[in-house]
Amino acid sequence: MNLTTDTLTKRYDEFELSIPDLTVERGTALGLVGNNGAGKTTFLRLVLDLIRADAGQVRLDGDTVADAFDWKERTGSYLGPSFLIDFLTPDEYWHFVGQTYDLSEATVDERLAQFADFYVDEPIGETTKYIRDLSTGNKNKAGLVAALLPQPDLLVFDEPFASLDPRSQIQLKELLQARRGDTTMLVSSHDLGHVTDVSDRIAILEGGEIVRDEPTDPDTLEDLTTYFAEAIRPKETEPADAEA
């Protein structure tokens, strides 16, 4: 699925998200990084038509997300616990999600089997607990599995590695890396290492704007670390200021 933005703008009081011209080609994984309040989640919500843009639009394969519906059938997303139906058990939730994507029970069961390793020590697929009674990490796992279940053309994740144990983080990374090339992905994360590993491109959001957008390479992690570290070091004084 091809994602494009066209003078996309969203304003909140003193903050403005402005992404005038972004293109994410089909099968590309774009990693979004930035400080808190940079606008990452706002952008992802605009992509999923959960908030209304003040100007411009997001298009998926040419269709404006705010006006079309079909793109939802090819999109999987998880932005956080608000994406969960917490009075269902994980298994009920996954089957419910599968039904909304017109997947048969057999297909859902077959696909869920692929994720058995994802939660092998915590059998959330067999529990009778409601999602609201699970730990934060297991809640996130339930949401991530639900997003991956329909094998969508577009995956949108906000902080997918948050609250996951180290093994699960590695497993998720492998799942996402396996989908590179087939699935367009938008992954926002504060974990620079993981997001670099799963992305073809990294975009840095700052103050509502994309300040850098580059393909990933072996030096990307170091570049990002240097970029964010410099923000907390005091600015070096000019020679003239020093003499004064």
Binding site: L50, I85, T89, Y130
Partner: protein, 504 residues
């Protein structure tokens, strides 16, 4: 943290919401209603001593009013348990902070008293006190004022505890209440004698307190302290956030519901709403409400009502014996649950909107669910009414059609104006969801049956008109659905914004 810091913070929380204008409008509407009722009670209070002296010359108006305090408290508590949806403020964000629980409890207890539910009856109490004081009985007037205020405090604190108890055992509570009402109706208990005894007890307790007698005053004081103490203990227990409490029904999935869900996307949405109703304490309350009214209506089959009685009844009496039981017996489910549609999803509303479920199917699912509930309420007492050939069947069927055809779509439409998310799990014990937009859409529909009853004097036109309106609207549900879908699409961004700001 001083108490007043918390109170000031709650005021900030009240005004810093995305839809302050709407909340303000809701407050203004509620305020006008309270002023109207309060004004009437003030006039009654002014005329009260004259009325008492005319009806019972030589009787002390304060003592007469005191006799009514206990029955008023019981009846008012029952009304508030049914009607009031919550009190106080959300204090969970403060729980992890180094703030004393006693301070939080004090804030909640104080805030809950500032309610129009208390202000309106207090207008009557204050007026009677002032009248008595102006007649020279300053001491008794002050004591009556204290007694009245104490009764309102007790009712305020008892109401949420009663509601929580009922929502935990809705079926048991409904059956118990029905047995109570049935016992009274079938004269298994002497209601008149019971009420007389209650008046006597109230007269001794509060009348004695007004007269300054030590024993009744102490008993009233101890009772009030007991209720306040019980409320404080209950609040402190409720503030312990225990994520590991498992519901008895956790994980028991219903094959029947699964089968229904496979019928199509709208049915799937309806089943999801049914699961939300069944698996959350707050929404199980709806079960209690619906069951109670339905069971009470079944009791009508025991009372011999003739068509001639309905024909001969004046409009006001006709409204009391037909419209209220008829409208609410089949409509209570749609009214009570329907007003909080979408709000109950508040915590997961993004889950609903991000999935490939069209707005049309979402709205169709809500309609199916509420229509199903309305049908359930219609069917339960139907065998009893049919077997007894009770003319109340006419009323029951009339209002079923009206509720199914008019009220249900209107409640769904009104719910799209909700802007506050409600948490439905058992840890939440305080929430209100008054929406001016929803009231504006739904309130006129409760007036329509009144118009039919007052405008015509023949039963066939009075009830036939209401039934015909309902049937026509029911047949036009596809048109309703198109409109509801547009309304949902118009409101969905604002709903999301409000639900996120609610923070539940």
């Amino acid at each position: 943290m001083p108490l007043w810091f918390l109170l000031r913070h709650r005021l900030h929380a009240f005004v810093r919401v995305p839809f302050l204008g709407r909340r303000g409008l809701s407050l203004i509407l509620g305020g006008f209603l309270a002023l109207y009722l309060g004004g009437g009670l003030v006039l009654l209070g002014v005329a009260f001593d004259d009325l008492v002296r005319e009806a019972a010359p030589g009787a002390d108006p304060l003592l007469v009013a005191s006799r009514g305090l206990l029955p008023f408290a019981l009846a008012y508590a029952a009304v508030r348990v049914f009607v009031e949806s919550g009190i106080g403020a959300e204090l969970r964000p403060y729980l992890p902070l180094p703030v004393r629980r006693s301070g939080l409890v004090a804030v909640l207890a104080a805030l809950s008293l500032f309610s129009l539910w208390n202000a309106v009856p207090l207008a009557f109490v204050a007026t009677v006190c002032v009248e008595a004081a102006l007649d020279g009985a300053l001491g008794p007037a002050l004591r009556f004022g204290l007694a009245g205020a104490g009764v309102l405090v007790a009712v305020t604190y008892a109401t949420p505890m009663l509601r929580r108890g009922v929502s935990a055992r809705p079926v048991l509570a409904a059956v118990g209440l029905f047995l109570l009402v049935a016992s009274a109706g079938l004269e298994w208990v002497n209601v008149a004698g019971g009420v007389a005894s209650l008046l006597d007890v109230s007269g001794w307790l509060f009348g004695g307190a007004v007269q300054g007698r030590l024993l009744p005053a102490s008993a009233a004081g101890v009772g009030l302290v007991g209720i306040v103490g019980g409320y404080v203990r209950w609040l402190r227990r409720a503030m312990v956030v225990d994520q590991n409490r498992r519901s008895r029904t956790a994980g028991r999935t219903s094959d029947g519901l699964d089968w229904i869900a496979r019928r199509g996307p709208a049915w799937r949405e309806a089943v999801l709403e049914a699961r939300l109703l069944l698996r959350n304490a707050q929404t199980r309350w709806t079960f209690f409400m619906a069951l109670f009214f339905v069971l009470v209506l079944s009791g009508f089959a025991v009372f011999p009502i003739e068509v001639a009685d309905l024909r001969a009844a004046p409009p006001l009496e006709l409204i009391n014996i037909t419209l209220f039981p008829g409208l609410f017996a089949t409509g209570v489910f749609a009214i009570y649950h329907g007003q909080n549609l979408f709000s109950y999803e508040g915590t997961g509303v993004e889950a609903c909107m991000a999935r490939p479920v069209s707005a049309r199917h979402r709205m169709a699912g809500k309609l199916l669910f509420l229509e199903g509930g309305t049908l359930f309420c219609f069917l339960i007492p139907l065998p009893t009414l049919l077997l007894s050939q009770n003319p109340f069947l006419i009323v029951h069927t009339t209002f079923f059609l009206y509720n199914a055809g008019v009220v249900v779509p209107a409640m769904v439409a009104g719910a799209t104006f909700n802007r506050k998310a409600l948490a439905v799990d058992e840890q939440t014990f305080m929430q209100t969801n008054f929406s001016g937009g929803r009231v504006a859409v739904t309130f006129p529909l409760f007036v329509v049956p009144f118009l039919f009853l007052f405008s015509f004097d023949r039963l066939v036109l009075q009830f036939g008109g209401v039934a015909a309106l309902g049937l026509l609207s029911l047949l036009a549900l596809p048109v309703w659905l198109r409109g509801l879908t547009r309304l949902y699409n118009y409101n969905r961004y604002a709903m999301l914004r409000g639900f996120r700001a609610s923070g539940n």
